[in-house]
Subunit: 519 residues, 2 copies
Amino acid sequence: MLRLGPLAAAGRLLPAGPRLEPPRPAGGRVSFLRCWPPRLPGPVGDGRPLSQQVRAAANSAGGSGGRGLALKTPKGTRDHPPAHVALRDHLLAAVVACFKRHGAAAIDTPVLELRETLMGKYGEDTKLIYELQDQGGELLALRYDLTVPFARYLAMNKITNMKRYHVAKVYRRDNPATTRGRYREFYQCDFDIAGQCDPMIPDAECLKIVHEILSDLQLGDFLIKVNDRRILNGVFAICGVPESKFITTCSTVDKLDKVPWEEVKSEMVGEKGLSPEAADYIGEYVQLHGGLDLIERLLQDPKLSQNKLAKEGLGDMKLLFEYLTLFGITGQISFDLSLARGLDYYTGVIFEAVLLQQENDHVEEPVSVGSVAGGGRYDGLVGMFDPKGRKVPCVGVSIGIERIFSILEQRVKASGEKVRTTETQVLVATPQKHLLAARLKLISELWDAGIKAEMLYKKDPKLLKQLQYCEDTGIPLAAIVGEQELTDGVVKLRDVARREEVDIPREKLVDEIRRRLEP
Amino acid sequence: MLRLGPLAAAGRLLPAGPRLEPPRPAGGRVSFLRCWPPRLPGPVGDGRPLSQQVRAAANSAGGSGGRGLALKTPKGTRDHPPAHVALRDHLLAAVVACFKRHGAAAIDTPVLELRETLMGKYGEDTKLIYELQDQGGELLALRYDLTVPFARYLAMNKITNMKRYHVAKVYRRDNPATTRGRYREFYQCDFDIAGQCDPMIPDAECLKIVHEILSDLQLGDFLIKVNDRRILNGVFAICGVPESKFITTCSTVDKLDKVPWEEVKSEMVGEKGLSPEAADYIGEYVQLHGGLDLIERLLQDPKLSQNKLAKEGLGDMKLLFEYLTLFGITGQISFDLSLARGLDYYTGVIFEAVLLQQENDHVEEPVSVGSVAGGGRYDGLVGMFDPKGRKVPCVGVSIGIERIFSILEQRVKASGEKVRTTETQVLVATPQKHLLAARLKLISELWDAGIKAEMLYKKDPKLLKQLQYCEDTGIPLAAIVGEQELTDGVVKLRDVARREEVDIPREKLVDEIRRRLEP
C-alpha cells in the first residue's frame, strides 16, 4: 500500500546520495575522486551550512564568556566541528590505508615526554617546544614531532627492527599563518622503517609512499625534492665551512625555498660568520637541481668527488634514482641541492614534497600551501637514547595532513556540497500525542537489532517536525507508529526522499529496513 | 601445477585465521564475542609474544638512556605497542559504533585550553590539572575531561542543540594505580546530548548506551547505579547542612563505594564541619539503594517529600525508571543514594556503571577495576561560558575505555592468542641473487593495484628467510619471481599456510591474489 505523506505538497525534495565512507581497505587502490567530493543529502552538523560551521570553528578569537571569561581556544589551535571531523577522518583513512598497504603496524606514545627526551634534537626549533609547569615531580614537555618519541620507544624497548606508522597530534609554539592551514596543534602522519637494511631500499619506499598518497588524494601536480645531508656537508667542507658550523649552515640553506639567495647569503655571512667567498661558493652548489644527469655531473666534479661524505651521498643518490625508476615515479622527483630540512637529526637522504599548483577551477579563494610531506634518514637518533650508544638506522616520512586538509576544505566550500556528519538510518516517529512509550519501545528494538536510529526528545512532537528533521539531517527512512499501526501490529515505513509510505508488519520491520538500506 | 616449496619439510604449520577487524558498521548489532578473541596466525608487532610487548610497554620505569638520560615515559603514562593499538582500535570501534547508532556526530577540540576555561569546574580535582609553563602569551592547561571543552564549544559557537561524541585523550595529574588500568593520560569516549528536551528522555538514552556498550563488549555482569543531585541536595537540606556545603558534602558521600560509612562520617564531621547528628541523619539516607519501590517510599517520606528539589528529583527518577522499563534494562539499574560523583558541574541525574565480577575462568591474574562508565546531567555548565549566562541543558556519558582495555588485555594474555598487527597480504620474494630490480618492479605493481605487499629490505635475501618472515608475521601469500619465472612471464604464487605453489601468468597475478583473499 503506497500513500503520500503530509510533506508531499511542501515542494522540498532532497536527493538521496551515498554516505561519506572511508576508502575501502582492500580490493584495488582507492581513487579519492571516486568518493570525492561526497554528495550527501541535506545540511548537517549543527544544521548550519558547512562554510558557516567552519568559519565559526576557525574563528579562535571567539567572544567573551560568562563572568568576563575569554571564550576562545588557545592561540594557534581550533575546534573541529562535525563536518571537519568527517572530512579529516576520510583523509586520515586514505593515508592510513597507504601505510597499511606497505605493511606498517601502529604504535602510540604519550603526548607528554620528559623534557630531557626532547632537548638537543631539534636545533633552533627547540625554543618552539611547549613546556609544562613544574608542579612537583618530573619536568615535562609536549611532543614536537612523532620521530623523537619513536626513537625513544625503540631504544627503551631495545627494538632493532620495526616498520611502524603513527597518526597523532604534535605541538609547536610557533607563530603559524593559520590561513595556510598551519597551527600550533596539528596532526602528523608518520611512517618509519627502522633497522639495518641494504642502501636506499627503504628510502625509496618512503618516496613511493609520498607519491602514492599525493596521487591518491588528487591534489594536483606535485614535486618531491630530494637531497642528502652528506652531499650538503661535503659541499660545506669543500667550501671551507668548519664542521662545527655544518648544522647551522644547513638551517640557513633551508630558507632558500622562501627567500632569495642574496638574503640567504647575507645570513650566512652576517649571522653565521662565513666568509663571503665561502658563501658564494656554497651558492654555486645549492642552487643546482636536476635528475640523474646532475648526479653524474657532480660525481665528476673534481673537488666534490674528492670528499668522502659527498661521494657516498652521491653514490647512494644514484642508487635511489635507479630504484625510483623501477617504481616509475622519477617524473615527480627532483634532486635539489637547496633542500636542507631544518631538523638536526637527519644524517642521509632528505626529501620534501610541494604542490606545484592547485586544481582551483572551482575554488573561490585559493589557499597557498607549502610543503605537504617531508622526511629523511636519521641513523643517529636512536643511538642518542641507547645507554651504550647502539645505533638503529631509520628512515621515515611525515605527511602534512593539515595543509592537505585546508585544500580539501576549500574544495568543499567552493562546491557548496553538504557533508553528512551522522549515519542515522531511521527516525522513529509518532503521528499523535501520548505515544512516547510506543516510540521508546520501537527505537529500543531497532537499536538492539543494530539499526542506527534517532527520535526527537519531545513527549509529543508534531509529525511535520519529525519528518522535517529527517530531511534536514539526511535520514533516509522514518518508522511511524500511530494508534492505528499499534492496533494493526504494523509500522508505517516512510521513504523520506520519495515521500512514499508502506505498512510493514512489526516483526518484519528490521529485515525490511536492512533490505532498503542495502547499497 | 602444484608444487611443494622448500619449507614443506620443516614441520611448522600455522593455521590461517580471520583478521582483526572492526565491528561491521551496519546490519545487526555486533557481538563482541563473534570476533573475540581474535585468532590470528603467527607472532606480531616487534615479533615478541604480546605479553612481553605489553610488559615492556607498561614498564614506564625503563632504563637509562645515552648520556645518562632517563629512558622512560612520564610517570603515569605509557607507550602502546602494535598489539595494544590493534586491540584498542577494535574496542574504540565498538564504542563509536554505538554512538553512531544513536545518531551522534563527532567533534574535536584542542588538547590545550585556556587555564581560565578549566578553572572552577572540577571542585577539589582542580589541583589535578596539568598547567603549562608561562612561556609568554596565554596561560594554558591540558584538558581534564571532554565535557568542559564541549560546553565551551557550545557557548562559543552559540549552539543550543547538538548530539555529539568525542573520543580523545585527557590528562590528570593524579597518582593512579596503573595496575588497575588507571593512567595520567587516558582516552575518554564521551556521548552528550545538548538542548531543551522533555524530562528524562535523553537521560534514559544515555543509560541505554551504557547498557548496550557493556553488553556488546561482554565484560560480564554489571550494575548501573543511578542517583540525582537534587535528591542528594534535598537530603542534605533536611538534615540541616547549609547550602554552601552541599558540593563538598557530595564529594565526601562519593567515597562511600571505597570506604566504610564510619570513615565517611568522620570526614563529614572532622573535615567538613557537620554535626555528628546531621552526619548520622545523612547516613540513614545515603546507604539506601533499590528500584521503583525505593523511589515510591521516598516520595512518601514525610520530610523529604516536603523538599522541593528532592521531590522534583524523585519525580524524574520515577519517570526515568518508566523509560528504562520500556528499554528493558532495569535489571541492571540500581537507584543508589550513595552515588554522588565527584565533579562540581552535575545538576540532576548522575550515574556510574561498575562491573560486578569478571569472567575470569581463563584469566591468570584478575584485574580489579572500578567504575567503567559514568555521567550525568549538567544544565548549568554552558551558561558559565555564555556572556549572558544563557543555559543549554546537557546530559552525557563517558565510557572508561582504559579500564575495559585492561580487562581485555588480561584476556588476551591468558588466552595466549597472537594478535596480528599488520594486514600485509603478499610478500614479494626472489629465490636467487641479483633480482632486486625484479622484486621492486613487481611490488610496485602490487601497491599500485591496492594489494598490501611487503618485501625484505635486503638486496639478496635467502628464500628461506623470506618465507620464514611470512610465517612469523602471518602473511598469507608469497609472490616469487626467479630467473625462470621472469623468462616464462609468470609469478610463482605460494600459499604460506598450505605450502602450495602455483605459476600464475604475470598479467593475471593481481586478480588471482584478490580471488585468493576473498573472505
